[in-house]
């Protein structure tokens, strides 16, 4: 069974529970620290994770869909401190923590060594295959995989009524060839994402997004808006 809980996806089967979360981009805000005003999204991220776990309870596995740190190669103490806080929190609620390697995740060895994290290129569980989404991988095309769960693209949708418009993070669910596809929004709170109706989202596959179902997210609530293409026509 699959459920959207805020920006996370909960998969449940035979007493196993898997929580999947999109790109975190910890340390994205570093640049502004240089400006003399310290701000941190870590506290916001932790608060949001606590709210999700309050709804899901303990899970067997938590999968992070890559781009955990915004700039691994240059990550400083503050970023690592952020990682430590988040990983500690995640470990409190899950038995196993898996990170799918993303394009920002260069030099991530400390993550594995220090934080007891399993680092993989793809992670498959009961036909669900989680990848970051910046490149195609053979694991996605194996017979046992029926659903791809993908991060990377930061999908969002701008809802309009007359002159009013608001941008929301969104899930998109559809099919590609024989596989079911779920595009996951970024978990990072600082930026909402890219409006999928106007801008091309950078995936290496030619998804026909207009046939995908759209789910808009605000806080912990998720609302279904039907097929993207039909909504656009309206």
């Amino acid at each position: 069974m699959k459920r959207f809980i805020g920006k996370g996806i909960l998969l449940e089967e035979e007493k196993e529970r898997v929580l999947i979360l999109g790109d975190m981009h910890i340390g994205y805000e570093q640049g502004i620290h240089q400006a003399g005003v310290a701000t941190s999204f870590i506290a916001d991220t932790c608060r949001e994770l606590e709210t999700i776990f309050a709804l899901t309870g303990n899970v067997t596995t938590c999968v992070l869909l890559g781009d955990v740190l915004h700039r691994f190669a240059k990550a400083g103490n503050d970023e690592w401190r952020g990682v430590r806080e988040i990983v500690t929190l995640l470990h409190k609620w899950c038995e196993e923590l898996v990170v799918v390697r993303g394009n920002h995740d260069v030099g991530v060895v400390p993550l594995v060594r220090e934080f007891n994290v399993r680092l993989v290129d793809s992670w498959t569980w009961k036909g669900y295959c989680c990848v970051h989404g910046d490149k195609d991988l053979p694991a996605l095309h194996t017979r046992e995989v029926h659903t791809w769960i993908i991060g990377h693209g930061h999908p969002a949708y701008r809802l309009r009524e007359g002159a009013k418009s608001e941008l929301y993070k969104c899930f998109l669910e559809g099919t590609y060839k024989t596989k079911k596809i779920i595009l996951v929004p970024s978990f990072f709170g600082g930026v909402i994402g890219t409006d999928v109706s106007t801008y091309a989202v950078p995936y290496p596959w030619a998804f026909t997004l207009s046939s995908f179902s759209l789910y808009l997210i605000e806080g912990m609530q998720v609302f279904s808006f039907g097929k993207l293409g039909q909504l656009e026509k309206k």
Binding site: A38, L159, G162, A163, Y168, S197, L231
Partner: protein
């Protein structure tokens, strides 16, 4: 408020008296080149010689620069003859224009060279007088040379002056500075001027003598304020208001037989024929448009409509063009190679452009001072009559220009607004000051308060900026990257970090960097033609098929690629998204009020057509045709609804997809931005729904569901207006955008860091974070407060809006609601221009829930 210092008028001296003041060499050189002193020189030479501060306000072409320098040159020559010139900077000249080198040569190098030669011929050896030019373009080697051999006169820009002030070797040479010239001061009634005013106070704080301040200005008002701005606190600045000797010849024209012809899109081509005719009957014509985009378009159309006729003889000049291109155009203009030049604002300032026979202003210049400045570019030689033509394109334009003509002829100049207590500029200077030395906080505050712009700065505001720079606002102290340190015990301030000077030098200035997307026609007629520029943030909100307004025209967004947005032109449908980004100049409040008074006077005579037309003709100094057109326009409005005046705002109500309330309030866009927002906010609060607004110089509209205007108007009082305005602004793009500018000025966002320039896109992302962060820290974070202040005081005009609300409260201004079947003649332009913003009251989640409900209902309906 503190008492303003007195600024006495300066009395001109007799030519014969002035003659005796000059050193023989200078005198002989001067009279070898000129017949006599100009009136400007008669006003200024004596006072500068007596070492008294002076503001010289004279029309363009009034020999201002030489007037400012002549007494200084005279003094330096007498020192040079006695071999008493020291290695120090005697005079600093600053101008907002970077393109100074040529003018400096004409105004300084050439006279110095000629005087030196004259001395040589007479066996007098003068010590060389060195002139140094320091702008952002000055090379490293040139700067090093200046450090080795101190120039006696330093020519610079406000930004470069601030850099000089953090360079120890130059500061030493400035310790006995004797003169400061501020040129084009009328163009500095903005944050750049605020920046300069603080730089001047810093300069004076270092100097052991208080240098004589000389301000040079074109037509500007009120002169007392500008004099105070120049002199700062406690300095008596004499005002030399050199009378406008020049008589201006102005005409008002429109293409076609009647103004209604001009409004028709199909006959708008007539404007090119009219321009061609005017250009043809003059040697050199300068055309001013109000936007850069219109400049490009006009050049393009003239070349297209008259193939071959203008090739090589027409040029465009605007601030988006490269420096080299502009220089080339100026040079060709000076040589008389161009027959016509089209410009937006860039040629308003005093670059020497040779002689121009006619200036054409295409559409209303929106302010008397601007109109005079532009027309003054014609006959740019002393005593030549400037000739100008106002070409109007619609009826609002016609009325505006007719009133402007009256104000120009009667020399009734609109008043400039100088920003006060700008905390972002203050932050930048405090950082610069801390880099130079360790300061006592009180001493620093007293230097800052000497600037006119900060004379009323509270200690709390000052302290809040210190706290920001010292990193006190940090959420967690270990994250802090403070720029200065502040020791509460000793009350001292100093710089922090090894990179402080580099960060300061590479991020100095007040002009925001903008991320512009070029808008290009991507399909249909005019494919490939650039039509203007929009802000990056604006593009982000657009969807395929959206219709938006740019430069008064409607376009449909097709797609974007890189830094270009492709659109379709010739759209008739209503805009779908609010165009909060506008390049258009706002009508000045004073001119708008003059239009209101004019309407009242015509209204009194509206029943007597002959009398009314004769009155308009004599009142506006216009032709009978123009007067008849204006009368017909006013009469049509009176018959359809009612004529709004300075005593009565007409609120026109009609219904389309939404309920419209169109306020005919002629106060200029800066005031109407305020009124529209507070009324929309009040209307929105009643129903907790969003209200859309459209803002124009002559009025504004609200569009929403069920607008109870009477109730709304009663809710706004002098007491609560500012508070409601600030609440209404909190979620707007205008505030976000201004916050980004303020954050860059206060060095929260660094444009350049560790040698790398940050893209505007990155700056935008950072500013979004920052806004989120500072709101979390404190609603009163100084730079956020500054962004709000900038929006309501500089971009908008809260002061005059309050005056209007007060008049409504006191019932000296009435509001009359009239229901109309559709939009009235006066409302047409405003209505067509579309929505400019939305006052958002509905929460993001409520909106999502409501839209989801609507979606579900649609599905259910379809299912049924």
């Amino acid at each position: 408020m503190k008492q303003t210092s007195l600024h006495p008028p300066v009395i001109p001296l007799e030519s014969a008296t002035l003659r005796t003041h000059l050193h023989p060499l200078v005198r002989d050189w001067f009279f070898g080149r000129f017949k006599d002193f100009s009136l400007t020189q008669q006003y200024s030479l004596g006072r500068i010689r007596d070492r008294k501060h002076i503001l010289i306000s004279a029309p363009t072409g009034g020999t201002k620069t030489l007037s400012a320098f002549l007494s200084i040159l005279n003094y330096l020559i007498s020192l040079a003859e006695k071999q008493e010139l020291e290695d120090k900077i005697y005079a600093v000249y600053t101008s907002p224009l970077k393109a100074l080198s040529n003018d400096i040569f004409v105004n300084l190098e050439q006279p110095l060279e000629e005087i030196r030669a004259l001395g040589m011929a007479r066996g007098i050896t003068l010590q060389p007088i060195r002139v140094g030019l320091r702008t952002g373009d000055t090379s490293v080697s040139e700067r090093a040379k200046q450090a080795r051999k101190t120039p006696h006169i330093m020519i610079t820009t406000p930004e470069s002056l601030a850099i000089i002030l953090t360079t120890p070797v130059f500061v030493e040479n400035l310790r006995a500075l004797e003169f400061v010239i501020v040129d084009e001061i009328h163009a500095l009634t903005n944050k750049r001027g605020v920046f300069l005013s603080l730089a001047l106070e810093r300069l004076c704080a270092y100097s052991l003598v208080d240098p004589v301040r000389i301000g040079l200005s074109a037509t500007v008002a009120p002169l007392e304020t500008i004099a105070h701005f120049l002199g700062g606190e406690g300095r008596e600045v004499g005002i030399a208001a050199v009378p406008l000797l020049k008589d201006i010849e102005i005409r008002l024209l429109y293409p076609g037989k009647s103004i209604l012809d001009a409004e028709e899109a199909s006959t708008q081509r007539g404007v090119y024929a009219l321009l061609d005719e005017l250009i043809g009957s003059n040697r050199t014509t300068l055309i001013f448009t109000n936007t850069r985009n219109a400049t490009e378009k006009l050049v393009h159309h003239l070349e297209q409509q008259f193939p071959g006729k203008y090739s090589g003889l027409i040029g465009a000049h605007h601030s988006s063009m490269s420096k080299e291109m502009r220089f080339m155009i100026e040079e060709r203009l000076r040589k008389g190679e161009l027959k016509v030049i089209v410009s937006s604002t860039s040629l308003e300032l005093g670059i020497d452009i040779g002689s121009i026979d006619l200036v054409i202003l295409l559409r209303s210049p929106k302010a008397v001072s601007r109109a005079l400045q532009r027309i003054g570019r014609a006959g740019h030689q002393l005593h030549a009559h400037p000739r100008g033509v106002l070409v109007v394109m619609d009826r609002d334009d016609l009325v505006e220009c007719a009133v402007l003509m009256k104000e120009m002829v009667e020399k009734s100049i609109d008043r400039a607004h100088v920003p006060e207590n700008a905390l972002d500029v203050l932050a930048q200077h405090i950082y610069g000051m801390a880099i130079s030395k360790i300061w006592e906080a009180d001493e620093m505050l007293s230097v800052v308060r000497k600037s006119y712009c900060y004379r009323n700065l509270t200690k709390d505001d000052f302290q809040s900026v210190i706290s920001y720079l010292a990193g006190d606002y940090a959420l967690e102290h270990r994250h802090v990257y403070a720029k200065i340190w502040y020791d509460e015990k000793t009350n001292q301030i100093g710089k922090k970090g090894k990179l402080a000077r580099v960060i300061y030098l590479t991020n100095i200035g007040t002009i925001p960097t903008e991320g512009f997307i070029e808008v290009v026609i991507g399909a249909g007629e005019g494919k490939g033609l650039p039509v203007g520029k929009i802000d990056e943030g604006f593009l982000e909100r657009m969807k395929r098929g959206d219709i938006f307004v740019l430069g008064g025209q409607k376009y449909q967004f097709l797609h974007s690629k890189g830094m270009k947005a492709f659109v379709r032109a010739g759209i008739t449908k209503n805009p779908t998204i609010p165009s909060w980004f506008s390049e258009q100049l706002p009508l000045s409040y004073d001119t708008a009020c003059a239009i209101g008074r004019f309407r009242s006077l015509v209204h009194e005579r509206i029943k007597d057509s002959v009398g009314a037309i004769a009155f308009i003709q004599s009142y506006c100094y216009c032709s009978k045709d123009v007067a008849s057109e204006i009368y017909a326009y006013f009469l049509a409005q009176e018959r359809f609804a009612a004529l709004p005046t300075d005593k009565s705002i007409i609120v026109e109500r009609f219904k389309e997809e939404k309920e419209f309330a169109l306020f005919h309030a002629c106060y200029g866009r800066r005031v109407n931005e305020v009124l529209a927002r507070v009324y929309a906010y009040a209307a929105g609060r009643l129903k907790m729904r969003d209200v859309e607004i459209g803002v124009h110089d002559h009025g504004f509209f609200l569009a929403g569901e069920e607008l109870d205007i009477e109730k709304v108007v009663k809710q706004i009082t002098v007491k609560n207006m500012k508070e409601l305005l600030l609440e209404a602004l909190e979620r707007t793009d205008v505030l976000k955008r201004r916050f980004r500018h303020c954050a860059a000025r206060s060095l929260m966002i660094l444009r350049t860091y560790k040698g790398r320039e940050k893209s505007v896109g990155k700056q935008q992302v950072h500013s979004e974070f920052l806004l989120h962060a500072v709101r979390g820290i404190s609603k009163d974070f100084p730079i956020l407060r500054e962004a709000r202040r900038e929006v309501i005081e500089d971009f908008m005009d809260v002061e005059h809006a309050l005056r209007i609300v007060k008049q409504i409260e006191q019932k000296t201004l009435t509001l009359r609601t009239i229901r109309t079947p559709f939009v009235s003649p006066f409302g047409l332009q405003l209505y067509l221009q579309g929505k400019s913003d939305i006052i958002s009251l509905e929460h993001k989640l409520s909106f999502l829930k409501r839209m989801h409900q609507l979606h579900q209902q649609t599905i259910e309906r379809k299912g049924a």
